[in-house]
């Protein structure tokens, strides 16, 4: 066998650290740009799905204004800030100031972690606790109080009643969530009359502001601050429901794209944090590399930083299309 494939002596692959003169690039930098090109196509595929599905959605089936804009804004700022600090970290390495590098890289990592924490401990769970029911169009007239008058045609029709689920039909998989919400609500000391009347075939939802005053002018336009949930409740008969779901990916194509894109973006943030942590901690290919070959470490930080900028850039598209538009 070794006679058959005697492929082994040893030779270095050039341009791992120094740039090739005629291209002006070391190989990893070219590699990361190509990788980013493929990433553009990956997210491009997802964003085009967003456009395709949103344009194809029936009027009233693409919800808006469900996300928390101030929280999203803070996260945007934090992520952009971390893109700045990672450049500082790289520049510090170029100037051979190791402690500064450690400091700026630490800040970058913390920013990334902050972003992920907000996503996973606040934004996503807040969605999971929310519930929405799409009313059959033929039954919408029974719920004019919550859906408003769709016949006037002066705005997008409303078919969904959303809020906190207080009671769910017997066969609903959301029964537990409803009981949990109802008991929490009871703890606040307010009486919830309608939930008591509701039968085994009814949903009871403590409705969002938009359903409480569906035709009010302020509810027709987006708002920066999230509107607090109302004290009103809606009782909805199972037969009138087209689909009912918590704000999970299965709720609608809107939430499907939201969770898939932010989820994939979150994985990229996580990947970036792991790489930065490797470069920050005393691994042989990480911070220890500073002693033997600081330029190599600087290159690694530069390449990881380029990836980080891309992750940031994706978020700059995600933020407006989901939070603002």
């Amino acid at each position: 066998m070794s006679k058959l494939l005697p492929f082994f002596t040893d030779k270095e692959v050039p341009y791992t650290v120094a740039a090739r003169p005629d291209t002006g690039l070391y190989s990893a930098k070219l590699g990361i740009w190509l990788f980013l090109a493929s990433e553009v196509m990956l997210f491009g595929g997802l964003f085009s799905a967003y456009i395709f599905l949103r344009l194809g959605a029936e009027p009233g089936y693409w919800p808006t204004g469900l996300l928390n804009v101030p929280v999203g804004t803070i996260n945007t700022a934090v992520l952009i800030g971390s893109s700045v600090t990672v450049v500082f970290a790289w520049a510090a390495l170029k100037m051979r100031e190791f402690l500064k590098y450690k400091l700026y890289m630490a800040i970058t990592i913390l920013c990334g972690l902050f972003f992920l924490c907000v996503k996973l401990t606040y934004e996503w769970p807040a969605k999971f606790e929310h519930f929405g029911v799409f009313i059959k169009q033929s039954a919408a007239h029974k719920y004019v109080e919550f859906l408003g008058d769709n016949s006037k045609g002066d705005r997008e029709p409303r078919w969904e009643i959303s809020g906190h689920l207080m009671h769910a039909p017997k066969d609903s998989p959301y029964r537990q969530q409803a009981e949990h919400n109802a008991s929490k609500h009871a703890g606040h000391g307010t009486e919830h009359g309608q939930a008591a009347h509701a039968g085994d075939d009814d949903y009871v939802i403590q409705v969002d502001a938009v359903n409480a005053k569906p035709d009010a002018e302020e509810n027709g336009k987006p708002s920066f601050w999230p509107r607090p949930i109302s004290e009103k409740s809606a009782v909805i008969h199972k037969e009138d429901v087209e689909s009912a779901s918590a704000f999970l990916p299965r709720h609608s194509t809107y939430f499907a794209t939201y969770f898939l894109i932010t989820g994939l973006h979150g994985l990229h943030v996580l990947g970036g944090i792991l790489v930065f942590a490797y470069l920050w901690l005393p691994f042989k290919g990480g911070a220890l590399l500073y002693k033997s070959n600081p330029e190599h470490l600087a290159n690694r930080v530069e390449v990881a930083g380029l990836f980080w900028h891309f992750v940031d850039l994706v978020w700059i598209f995600v933020f407006p299309i989901f939070y603002l538009l």
């Binding site: 291209t23 595929g45 799905a49 990916p249 194509t253 794209t257 898939l260």
Partner: protein, 606 residues
Amino acid sequence: MSTIASEATGHHGTDSAHDDHHHHELGFWQKYVFSTDHKVIGVQYGVTGLAFLFFGFMLMMVMRWQLANPGAAVPVVGGALRSLFGSVVMTDAGALTANGYNVFGAMHGTIMVFFGVVPLAVAGFGNFVVPLQIGAPDMAFPKLNMCSYWCFFVSCVVMMGSFFVPGSAAKSGWTAYPPLAGIADFESGNIWLNGQTIWLLAMVFNITASLLGSINFIVTIIQLRAPGLNWMRLPFFVWAQFVTAFLLVLAFPPLEAAGFMQLTDRVFGTSFFMPTGLVVGQQIAQSWSGGGSPVLWQHLFWFLAHPEVYVLILPAIGIVAEIVANNTRKPLYGYKAMVYAVFSLGFLSFIVWAHHMYMTGMGAKVATFFQITTVMISVPSVVLLTSLLISLWGGSIRFNVPMLFATAFLPMFGIGGLTGIPLAFNAVDLYLHDTYYVIAHFHYVVAPGTIFALFAGVYFWYPKVTGRQMSEFFGKVHFWGSLIAINGLFFPMFLQGMAGVHRRWYDGGVTYEQLIAPVIHWNKFMTASAALLALFQLAFIWNFVTSMFIGKKVGRNPWEATTLDWDTPTPPPHGNFDKPIEVFRGPYEYSVPGAASDYLPQTQRS
């Protein structure tokens, strides 16, 4: 910034101080299994690809048996197939079931494209040959290269494993069209362990492997060309691989995105591709909220899968170009035109995808656009083929085995390409869509086209890989047998297709016999041809295996070729070259007037 720059340059001296310099002998595992050497990885990819080509071919043999003899037990191996694949695929008597036909059909397509041809043509030949031809010691990222192969290996294991889950492997075609693919294979009740879900997971690994590999190719070709090897001195094979790698980098990710979406449709109940009011089992499906679009999948899928067609064909054309130049002992005719053509081909291949979707009702204007671009793309294809054809003109051709396969490629690919032109026109396509005409068209491109070119490549570079030549006799048996049998297999499909035989009939058209009576008898002929084709592959397998041990030993340059891959020891050692490489001339300086020999290696100064 100036301080940064000056500080940084002040420390440049440290660049050369590499931390891990070790020259110790590597163990068996690192040498041959988890190797980072491009040649080992190329061989790994190549052998895996060949094995999958054979397996995909065997799946097709069972299907062809079923088409010619509907409902009859598969001879000899029927019982074994029943116990291997289970009752979903085979009846107790050993005949293929309808579900089994769908499983084999879907897996034949998937395996041939993603596990057979691409790994062999791009990753196998590309890995082995490209660094040699550009004078590089290895790929730019050897470790990534290893990751690429092992990612691919995982995808192979996962995909093969899907045959053995309850309900067997994916049945929704290699195109995995929703909503069918969204609701298929849930009979077992397990949302993860079922054919279609595993198909998607395996594809994610496969795509990752191809991304790692193709980025590596591009960087290697840009960064590691030997001194003097400027762009217009690159062998055409390198150009073909370069464009192919770009296609893979840019076209595969949208399919990955679509794969994620179909995966969430299946396991998390989203509705990316599930339309409102979808009726499943005579009632409206309640498991999906609706609002999705099956056509969206088709767009994302074909955005990959059309460039994928060129991923299948470009490396093949590259191989043929090398072999034609070498065996006509002439420079390629129109080398520069070919380079420009391969680039336009690469670009245009991104804007033709919806010609696969004329039947979706996407609208006449959109169809017209894609019809125009599709006709346009035939121009660079014809430039490539014509250049190769004219390259033969006036040469005193050496008809060795690689050259036989390479010359056969030209008319075979010609038939495949020219029969595609009617399909480009949307009015004609409405009739021909999903008939055997389409099957014949793309099989002519890929089987007697690409796969013949790949055989040519195997015969051509085998001496470089192993140091021994394959047998000419068995090679010629393999070639002539395959050439006749493969035309017997695919040509009647044109006749059947024009008569309206549909590609998905699992009984060979017996149900519609009165409609297709004049052509149904071809089924038996084609199946016999397929069996003959299989028989002649035995000559190849025998030749491939035994030549490793008994083949004629060869030196550095048995074909008297000019390119750098023949300027290395045979087989090349780790690091490839035993002398510093500098390039002084173009890739195909054969029969230069006044030169001492009829070929001038690229490294020869004068």
